[in-house]
Symmetry: C2
Subunit: 336 residues, 2 copies
């Protein structure tokens, strides 16, 4: 019985390509003392994966020759630990492979849920980030206008759906007409503006006839500058990320900062999901309520097969996903 | 009996000069029905005065031929109103003149205080702006590090002194060695950094060995960018103004926005003093407490004589004031 792994054959200089990866067959790993043997079921595919190849961040850099790193959901196949049993479903900082061994104390047992992939999407980082950022930082109220950038992305889609559930007027910003249509049709946003079209300021202004009260920012840069110009007095900007700036060697700060904050008395606040870990139970309960009521449509973009992980990541970086992207490596234990 | 007025003879194109003003002698104004005759005691000199010459803002523009506008403290000399009595001390949106008439309903009776000028400085806009911005937006705590730009200015000086009274480590930023020395010697800041010297980042970092928890920003631009790089996680930035950007035709946003907010989970919030009018009584009581205890040194920069108002404003714009600048036009009623 063999195992498959995907190695980073060469570190990318610029755009990531399939040639930077190589699929290897290896022996089945054997768990040592205190370790567990894991079978990968689902791997999360995130823009952050690419940034790990650029150097150390909140984790060690991924180097040439390493098996590519990922966050996975796995089934325990063998255990040398009292705390983890064979058959447990766990989350792990793992790698692109069919099987891995990990120290038992580094894996996290997951609750039983109907659909395992939801633990990566709506009840995972994506849904929790959307909930905490919107609720605790943006603080929207029914009747207010909420704008979300990267609206077709894994976080943005949940932000807009939560805001709709709260009674807000919700406007997305996404790239391309097809994505914008999907954001409105599948996620129920009131409207979605294509930032690739000319005249974003005018289009966005028309989409927000009462101005913007809350802006959930995933992108920074010129889109942030444009929304700042349309914010209402006492508006809130939840800063979740700045995708537009990550690959730039000449970052550009919005030219209307801090002026717009003073004139309109805006609050702009950054957050990361881990800051709100003590409120995760509240988040999960609310998200479950909206999923059950049909107010949140769980959108997942699942690519089948370990061998397709490079393609899935490259596509994500080009923005071709809608909803949370992940790779299914093996079946759910119940045979899904 | 004649009156003196200072007229805007010509609107400035670029730098303001004395030649843009002219002193005129006119007849004594006579109050009409519902009006009061006011004798000017003190006139507030503010950077905003200059901006009024550039076009309409929150008030009408000042045009060529107008008597120059100002905020004044005056004694009522004659009254055609039941609500205002001769001898009352009032605040008024007024002009650069010895005497003016104003509708009685547009003037505001002032409380009795020991020193009239304090109603423009520590108990006026300057002190209240410092209090509300620091306390309600910055939310500093004893032991934290507070940084203030324009530290020798009318607002900045009170910000630092309030922060010291609260037990914070207080670092000012000001222009020039002499001003920095004054900020430390007269206002009791722990240290003050000269932004005109090279290497602001290193100097400021050395002055803040525990990082920055609260930054009270009066300037925006590159100084804001530098402080952002030194903020601690969960730090707060109270945005009071952006002097560095007002005269610029090519404003530059801090390049580390919004990235720094996300990574360090910072809150950046604009405010204006009027938003906190319902808390002014609390502010005045606190400020009086610190003035009485000697923890706030009331710094005023009083220029004598109506005829010197142009020079006082031109000097303020060049940054030659320390503390709240005003012009004394006439004596206090009690003969000061």
């Amino acid at each position: 019985m063999t195992n498959r792994q995907i190695i980073v054959a060469e570190l990318p200089q610029g755009q990531l390509a399939e040639s930077h990866f190589a699929l290897h067959a290896t022996d089945m790993p054997v768990p040592e003392h205190g370790e567990v043997l894991l079978r990968t079921i689902l791997m999360s595919i995130d823009a952050a994966n690419r940034s790990w190849m650029q150097g150390a961040t909140y984790r060690d850099a991924v180097k040439a020759g390493d098996v590519m790193a990922t966050y996975s959901i796995c089934e325990v196949m063998a255990s040398n630990s009292e705390h983890i049993a064979v058959g447990d479903i766990v989350a792990a900082e793992s790698v692109w492979a069919d099987y891995v061994t990990r120290p038992a104390r580094k894996v996290q047992k997951l609750p039983k849920v109907e659909i395992l992939s939801h633990l990566i999407s709506v009840y995972g980082i994506a849904g929790k980030t959307a909930f905490h950022g919107l609720i605790s930082v943006g603080k929207p109220m029914a009747g207010e206008t909420v704008v979300v950038s990267a609206a077709a992305g894994s976080v943005g889609g949940y932000v807009g759906q939560i805001a709709k559930a709260l009674g807000c007027h919700v406007v997305g910003i996404a790239g391309g007409a097809e994505k914008c249509k999907w954001v409105v049709d599948k996620l129920g946003f009131d409207t979605c503006v294509d930032y690739r079209e000319k005249g974003l300021f005018k289009t966005l202004r028309a989409a927000c006839p009462n101005g913007i009260d809350v802006y959930f920012d995933n992108v920074g840069g010129p889109i942030l500058e444009t929304t700042l110009a349309l914010m209402n007095e006492k508006g809130r900007i939840a800063c979740c990320g700045a995708i537009s700036q990550y690959d730039s060697s000449t970052p550009t700060g919005p030219r209307n900062l801090p002026g717009a904050l003073v004139v309109k008395r805006l609050r702009m606040e950054g957050f990361i999901v881990m800051d709100f870990a003590n409120e995760d139970a509240k988040a999960i309960r609310a998200l479950q309520t909206w999923v059950n009521s049909g107010q949140i449509n769980v959108t997942e973009d699942i690519v089948d097969g370990l061998e397709n992980a490079p393609k899935a990541l490259i596509g994500l970086l080009a923005g071709d996903n809608k909803g949370k992207r992940m790779v299914r490596v093996g079946p759910d234990p119940k045979g899904e």
